[in-house]
């Protein structure tokens, strides 16, 4: 008898509104384990809202989100999920926090910290102050913090904002490596469709009802987009 492997993420009939403003309507989506998926859309298209619904930070008006087969409104196995927030670096510029201290915000051993920093090629910066690093290097540290608990799913919210093009290239190489070598499911949110479409394996475009890339398992109906309304 075949064993059914649950999807990393399964979204069923998900709708959400902020008071009177409908943001997401009847979203259905299945993301397999080992996928590398980008969610794109313009500002206000509902990308970050969708992420917050997936992570259980917001509660939907209707529908369900399942993470590794489990309803996220009941419980979430946080040990399986790594998250790199868009706001990760906001509070650091005025505080002398070291790279080591950032990664240790997760409850892990020194060995695990070294291992995570090695995987993003940042071990030699372990005792440096985070504010002394470039934007791209800081982003790697936040990824190391997300990786330190060895997650099966890594979610990144606008990870390359403020990072130059050259650094973006090495950053996406790192993500590809994590996806192929460690089989980590990656879910990436970005406003930059052009860049993302060349990097990830699957794109969910929240602005449209049709999907220009090889997205076959999702059905995203989105009424908030002017583009969708026009088509």
């Amino acid at each position: 008898m075949d064993t059914i492997i649950p999807h990393a993420i399964e979204i069923k009939n998900l709708s959400f509104s902020y008071e009177k403003e409908q943001v997401l309507t009847n979203v259905n989506c299945k993301i397999d384990v080992g996928s590398y998926v980008g969610i794109v859309g313009h500002n206000g298209s509902g990308k970050s809202t969708l992420l917050k619904l997936i992570l259980g930070i917001l509660q939907p008006d209707k529908g369900k989100v399942y993470l590794f087969g489990k309803d996220n409104s009941v419980s979430i196995e946080w040990s399986k999920i790594g998250y790199v927030s868009q706001k990760a670096g906001i509070s650091i510029s005025h505080v002398p926090i070291t790279v080591d201290e950032v990664v240790k915000m997760e409850k892990v051993s020194d060995y695990a910290v070294d291992e995570a920093l090695t995987s993003v090629h940042m071990l030699k910066f372990k005792h440096k102050l985070l504010r002394e690093l470039s934007g791209g290097q800081q982003q790697r540290i936040f990824i190391a913090r997300a990786l330190v608990k060895k997650p099966q799913l890594l979610i990144l919210d606008e990870p390359t904002v403020g990072v130059d093009v050259k650094t973006q290239e090495t950053f996406y190489e790192l993500l590809s490596r994590l996806n192929t070598e460690q089989n980590i499911t990656l879910l990436l949110v970005s406003h930059d469709l052009h860049t993302i479409s060349h990097k990830v394996k699957t794109v969910i475009q929240l602005d449209r009802k049709t999907y220009p890339y090889n997205l076959t398992s999702c059905n995203v109906n989105h009424i908030h987009s002017p583009y969708a309304a026009a088509h």
Binding site: L55, I57, W78, S79, I81, G82, Y83, V84, S85, K87, A88, I90, S91, I92, H94, V95, P96, I97, T98, E101, V102, K104, M105, E106, K107, H127, L129, F142, R145, A146, K149
Partner: protein, 268 residues
């Protein structure tokens, strides 16, 4: 040296030193996370609310420290609820509650005229008026605050630096934020009699930003900030005793002097 030991012949000075040292430990502990959260003004806001607590205590004939704790903890809870719903900015919430606390205190004073002098000791501090009962309350609360700080250090740190990521680490962010707000409220209550309601914010923040100038590492900065607060407290008390100056103000000016000195030395 003999002059220095003379200080400790007086019981009120011994109590003052003990109370001051406890405050010197807990104020920068909490202040460190206030600096990270860019919520330095919250101490000032709660200290104004604390005045309402003092006025209620004096009005009802209860130890004002107890009524102050109740007032600040309840207000801290309200601030966190308003702040976390994101419809009102934290800055606006504080800007509303700070004058509100002062206004309520003034109304209570006018309703029951007669304790203006007592209130002034809470406004500007009166460490030498710390009673034995006050000292026990300060001691008990100080230990409680320090223990909770150590037990939940990682949670406070993660939540202060990156609330969203902390949530995905399984940390109950809302609960931790409320707990932290209660610790701020209790610290303000404890510190009020020592440095005065109007000067508490300084003692929670200045040693922290002084320490952050000279060390590499957040944990180290907390340890050094406690050291800076200790030195400010001891020097401030000694100077205030011999120069016959108000203790709270002298302590705060000492900590500002240390900050200025370190800033200058760093630039040389």
């Amino acid at each position: 040296m003999q002059q220095l030991t003379e200080l400790f012949q007086y019981e009120f000075m011994v109590r003052a030193f003990w109370a001051g040292l406890i405050v010197a430990i807990i104020a920068p502990l909490i202040g460190s996370f206030l600096v990270v959260r860019r919520l330095s003004l919250i101490a000032d806001t709660l200290s104004h609310v604390a005045l309402t607590g003092v006025a209620i205590g004096l009005l009802l004939g209860i130890n004002p420290l107890i009524t102050t704790m109740i007032c600040t903890v309840v207000t801290a809870y309200i601030i966190e609820e308003l702040r976390s719903n994101e419809r009102i900015s934290a800055e606006s919430v504080l800007a509303m509650i700070l004058p509100g606390g002062l206004a309520m205190a003034l109304i209570l004073i006018s309703l029951a005229n007669g304790f203006n002098t007592s209130l002034i000791t809470y406004l500007f501090g009166s460490i030498t008026a710390v009673t034995q009962q006050d000292l026990w309350i300060i001691f008990g609360l100080g230990i409680g605050i320090a223990v909770i700080f150590i037990l939940f250090y990682r949670e406070f740190m993660y939540t202060s630096f990156d609330e969203e990521s902390a949530r995905t680490s399984g940390i109950p962010v809302k609960l931790i934020n409320h707990l932290f707000m209660i610790l701020i409220a209790l610290t303000v209550s404890v510190a009020m009699k020592v440095v005065g309601a109007l000067l508490i914010g300084a003692l929670m923040i200045i040693p922290v930003i002084t320490a952050m100038q000279i060390v590499q590492g957040f944990k180290k900065s907390i340890v050094v900030s406690v050291g800076v607060a200790f030195i400010s407290m001891i020097m401030g008390l000694i100077v205030s005793y011999y120069a016959n100056l108000p203790a709270g103000a002298t302590i705060v000016m000492t900590s500002i002097s240390l900050f200025a000195l370190i800033s200058i030395l760093k630039r040389i």
